[in-house]
Subunit: 889 residues, 2 copies
Amino acid sequence: MAEKNVYFFGGGEAEGTVDMRELLGGKGANLADMSSAGVPVPAGFTISTRACAAYYENNKQHPEALKKEVAEHLARLEKLMGKKLGDGTDPLLVSVRSGAAASMPGMMDTVLNLGMNDKAVEGLAKVSGNERFAWDAYRRFLQMFGDVVKGCDHEKFEEALNSVKAAKGVEEDLDLDTEDLKKVVEKYKAVYRDHVGTDFPQDPVEQLWGSINAVFNSWHNPRAEKYRKLNNIKGLIGTAVNVQSMVYGNLGDTSGTGVCFTRDASTGENYFYGEYLMNAQGEDVVAGIRTPQPLQTLADANPDIYKQLDDIRSKLEKHYRDMQDLEFTIQQGTLYILQTRNGKRTGLAAIKIAVDMVAEGLITKEEAVKRVTPEQLDQVFHPMIDPAARKSARVIAKGLNASPGAAAGEIVFTADEAEDWVKNKGKKVLLVRRETSPEDIGGMHVAEGILTSTGGMTSHAAVVARGMGKPSIVGCKALQIDHAKKTLTIEGKVYQEGDFFTMDGTAGEVFEGPLPLIKPELKGELDEFLAWADEIRATANRPGLTDQVFKIRTNADTPGDAAVARNYGAQGIGLCRTEHMFFEEDKIAIFREMIVAKDVESRKKALAKLMPLQKKDFVGILEAMAGLPVTIRLLDPPLHEFVPHEAAQIEQLAKNTGVSVDELKRKIESLHELNPMLGHRGCRLGITYPEVYDMQVEAIMSAAVEVAKKGMEVEPEIMIPLVGTVKELSILKANAEKVIARVFEEAGATAPYKIGTMIEIPRAALTADAIAQEAEFFSFGTNDLTQMAFGYSRDDVGTFLPQYVEDEILEDDPFAVLDQTGVGQLVEIGVERGRKARPDLKVGICGEHGGEPSSVEFCYRTGLNYVSCSPYRVPIARLAAAHAVLKNR
Amino acid sequence: MAEKNVYFFGGGEAEGTVDMRELLGGKGANLADMSSAGVPVPAGFTISTRACAAYYENNKQHPEALKKEVAEHLARLEKLMGKKLGDGTDPLLVSVRSGAAASMPGMMDTVLNLGMNDKAVEGLAKVSGNERFAWDAYRRFLQMFGDVVKGCDHEKFEEALNSVKAAKGVEEDLDLDTEDLKKVVEKYKAVYRDHVGTDFPQDPVEQLWGSINAVFNSWHNPRAEKYRKLNNIKGLIGTAVNVQSMVYGNLGDTSGTGVCFTRDASTGENYFYGEYLMNAQGEDVVAGIRTPQPLQTLADANPDIYKQLDDIRSKLEKHYRDMQDLEFTIQQGTLYILQTRNGKRTGLAAIKIAVDMVAEGLITKEEAVKRVTPEQLDQVFHPMIDPAARKSARVIAKGLNASPGAAAGEIVFTADEAEDWVKNKGKKVLLVRRETSPEDIGGMHVAEGILTSTGGMTSHAAVVARGMGKPSIVGCKALQIDHAKKTLTIEGKVYQEGDFFTMDGTAGEVFEGPLPLIKPELKGELDEFLAWADEIRATANRPGLTDQVFKIRTNADTPGDAAVARNYGAQGIGLCRTEHMFFEEDKIAIFREMIVAKDVESRKKALAKLMPLQKKDFVGILEAMAGLPVTIRLLDPPLHEFVPHEAAQIEQLAKNTGVSVDELKRKIESLHELNPMLGHRGCRLGITYPEVYDMQVEAIMSAAVEVAKKGMEVEPEIMIPLVGTVKELSILKANAEKVIARVFEEAGATAPYKIGTMIEIPRAALTADAIAQEAEFFSFGTNDLTQMAFGYSRDDVGTFLPQYVEDEILEDDPFAVLDQTGVGQLVEIGVERGRKARPDLKVGICGEHGGEPSSVEFCYRTGLNYVSCSPYRVPIARLAAAHAVLKNR
């Protein structure tokens, strides 16, 4: 028996199955699948990819057997549809489409309305009662067949059409009536004849084979070849061809068309939602010329069709086990499903549907977790602009989407004003600045959102906003801020302080005026869903690792942040930045005294005043995280970030310290650095001013002892930043241990602790074996590691990075998505060499990448013990981690 | 026969040989060697390390055989010296010293003046005619023997001595006369008795064995053990003991002492140079209380001794094949050589001596090359402060020795003033600034030397000064510059503009006032010497490398620099920085127009004006380097380095460009970056402003075609800086090739060229395999690579790096000496991965390390094809390369 190469589908059955993608292509296998599942797809047949391969092997000839098979299937199709190709009364029209095993959208050829000829056009006119529609379909087919199958110059058809329009003095196709279109058909036939040398074939079977061959030929067109090369699609033998009957929703009042969702795509409610139009084609629904009816009205208007549709809804959800987005057409009272696919949905809906479907027994918990993307999950934590209002709003500026969520408020240009307006005037404000600095923390805290004109994904504004869970857009280059005049200019338009803006941090878009915001609510389902993600995460299996568990920690600097994060599921603090504490009002003055101290003694005096204050902070944080590890980083930023620059503040400091204003100014000037990112900061300060770290270690460990005395479990981890050579670490570790011994002795009690380091300098990663001799843990500071591995300043990348991403020089902003190719190598080297020297080395990541899904997966694969991210990203990381576990099983 | 454990030396013979270090220790083997060579060293004998090991194995007991051997050798010594231990007429006194196979200076014990007792002191008094000297020697021996051999408390002896001084009412030892010293001896004896419980032993043999054992015991004292551990000295069985007769230069008018060099240590002339004093001890010569005589006067005063000494001089040079620095003592008419060693010498002398000794047949060329250090070679290229004047001058400030040589001049604080003072007032100036920037080039060019208060070894001032071969000291923190008042304050002392300073860039030292400078002259010998180095370099043998040869190129930006470097032996240009050209007066205005251009068209217009000017520069450079490769780096620094910041200049620019002053200021402000080192520069500019690189490529290649047309060979290598991802390079390479094709077409001629990249971003090294797919050559930019691998800004390291080096957190300043541990890994990775992708990849280094000897050796070992350094360091690199070849044979 000859091999079967043509597969029928339609009428509730199919010869092919869903697993025959290789043979029938993706589209053919899906059509077969839908048809078998009882979905009334327009009937047709699929010619196999094997036939395509044979066509090429056989010098572009088909064997007789194939011709016979196609003829048999065509006959079966005509019988099922009760129509005949080329028939003058009720003609069958078909589409001829490509369909390979891998999706190659738009790369190969398609022919629609096939079967149209001088007789069929009359038949279609009759059956549709719409002569113009029939002639328009004819002229479209002539053009498509001539162009796609015979290679006629597209331009010639355009010229012909334009000449008719010109003769009539109209400009739009729609202004042509039936008689005009008949003229166009004549002219198109002439174009065809001129180009091909023969008349346009009236025989539908000749049309069909021409189209089938054209689709096969398009498998090797340069566009398709390039697409396969670019997308690394290999090992395919050819494309299948799908010949499918065309159906029309505009064949009178018993015809119609619509789209629907098996559940509400906005809320996830199990509610059949959709819209339809009678006597219309699909494009009419989309074009919005007529207003579609809500699907529910169909139940009254045509209960039979509605029931069929509702049955299909259930059938499809059971079959595909997911919410479906389907397109249907009713052709003269018969319902056809043109397409069904998994429906797009909001984050809210995604979670609700996933959780509901588990309850309904449709899917497993694992599938539910798999199905929700981290981006969808993220949505439910933030207010968003009401989609209805957003439609009509104009984006006035775009920037980097540094921290998600939407916010609306009056714009102000300084942190002080933000505080004043909010506290004293009861306003809601958006803080708009060129860049932010630690001095702006207060204003950032009260603002609804933060908008800067410079900076990248790890700039100060971005990092702090994410930490606060506040919307932020950075590197918004269109903003020209004039601080003196208190104005903001965007493309020539000047805005004043107090003007209302709305910003969408998720999209990085800025709007004029206040837009209404909505906040998704989804408490019960969310907790259930995240618990499932945690269950999956707990099944991590990473052979060769002492500790299999993959933990999610948080970056938190205050007891409040710690509590929020713990509530979101954080299993400890991966980064507590001690310097933020120094900006609080009670501490900054003392800290400045310390900085400008003339000698070690006065410096120690200032530090002694700071110690109890800092200790109090640590007590709060350790209590909030009782029973969980807390990694505390010693002072990291350069000292000039803390000194005042305004005359009044300098005078105040002079008064406090007894140092002259002139001398203070000189001191402040001397702290200036050309490249502060590469300057005197981190452990370099610890080396040159050991008394600062000594104070911090004392504060941490006396806090730990105090909390432990209350019966709570403490796990402080002292982290020394910016280590580049093992000697820095060994010196600072020895200093710390001396202080700790003293604290324990004075307290008459001890507490557990670890001393480790951040790996954020490339040289540290390269010499991790030596460093691990001294460090009990590593935490990869991938922000700085990215800065140094790329040589990019996170504060200055705005000038070229957006273009780099747009031109695909970089796949992603490396400050948002960890660059696995380059920076990732340093992480891998660091982990491998570190663990070689110390097999039980605890390794985590505390850069901003800790909350980014693809980076979380990288960290999992690379054997990190945990990721740490800002509190509001903890749930995202929990989900991303579950995905990582599933993907790497 | 029992094994021999005691070895005699003296009287022109020796039982041991120079190769018996393991058995006799370093000192013992050397004494044997000298004695055999006919050098009249004070006679003595060496007890072997094997005896030391046996002593420990045998519970600190000696076998009878050893005692017998020592007795025999002692008898032989007494006979040879014609003196007897403890003799009341003419006593023999000996020293007992340690001496292991590895040098452990000062770690073990020594006893001097052994043999002294109540009788011998009388004998020494008689024979020296100096009673006081004899009693002083006795009391010293008592103290040393008590302390070293018997462990008496040092303090007790001090107390005894002080009590005698107090009784007499004097403060200095020298104020004690013979009678006083006799009292001291009595008191010392009492101290000894109190501590040891027995009387001080009068028997010299008992003294001798006590001292031998003390030396053996000191092998395992904690200090010595720690020293061996720290210096990784392993596998030694013990120390030898050297018993050597003491000789005295102060035993009357026929005694004396002196030091001499077998050749002039300053000039290298083959002239017997030295100084001596009759009736004196070594310390008298050093102390400077009496003025020593020139050695030549000895020829008249004592022709016999002088002749002996002169004979020894020849003998020693033949024996040691190097210039010797020797100490001698004449004891009552007999000449003894106390020590001979290779003499320290100036760079000038080192080369002259090495070349002369080859001519004399004493050493081979290879030995000559090996013997001169790169630091010595460096000296001969720079003026130095006259050593005589320097002695009495006070160093007022110290900084990093950024560029060698000395300079004197009046201080000025701006580049403009430097130019004005030199050109219009005919002054010599030193330019003193906080830091320099490219705008200061003119002033730097005319200054004698450059002094900055900030910056590190690769700061702008340092790099440019080295390029110009001009002395420079950077990071000189003591300087407080007040630009407004035009004053400079150093430790409270205020200096005015116009005050005279002298600076020594080699030492990094600043002096007040003008000091006389001298410039070594050594043309013939130098060329000969460097030719030998090149011969050795040509024998490079690096298996697995396509091209064995290790070349020396230069970093040069102008035809003048290129010519200087070629004259110094450069084999091409490894780095031509095109941006320096833009600072020339005719170009900076046009370049600024380009920067502030409103759109691409006006930018292109400015660039079109620049093109012929830049082409002219390239023609000059390619001609100067005809036949040799020239690597030209496209624009690298950020644009803000080129824009004016002073009002007048901004106004001028506004006039030139028709752009308003306000808009210009905004534009200039927008170019400001927080961390310019990590900002918008290098190929990032090439991507965002492709027309700039297009212009440069056009200038390079049309210059190449023009020079080639004149019949000269050209090898331009177009280098794209700061590449971090392969896509940057592939885009810019494609752009360049388009321009080149156009240049060739328009010229109707071609020229060879290569396109490659700098590897200076860590990520580039890590992804070198991908980058080498596009690059025909790599040049490691180890300045930036060091900045980014360490996270150090070269401009800001002054605040902590000096302390890091001092505290040995870092072995060296990594901007001066390539950090092989960390940065070196990136170089190795880059070379290995690059060559894997492209086996014939040409790889060089153009960072400042290219002229630093240990870095040159690293580059040789790592398989680099060349190093490139500033013109004045080319000879240093040639020598260092020869050393590398020799070391790695």
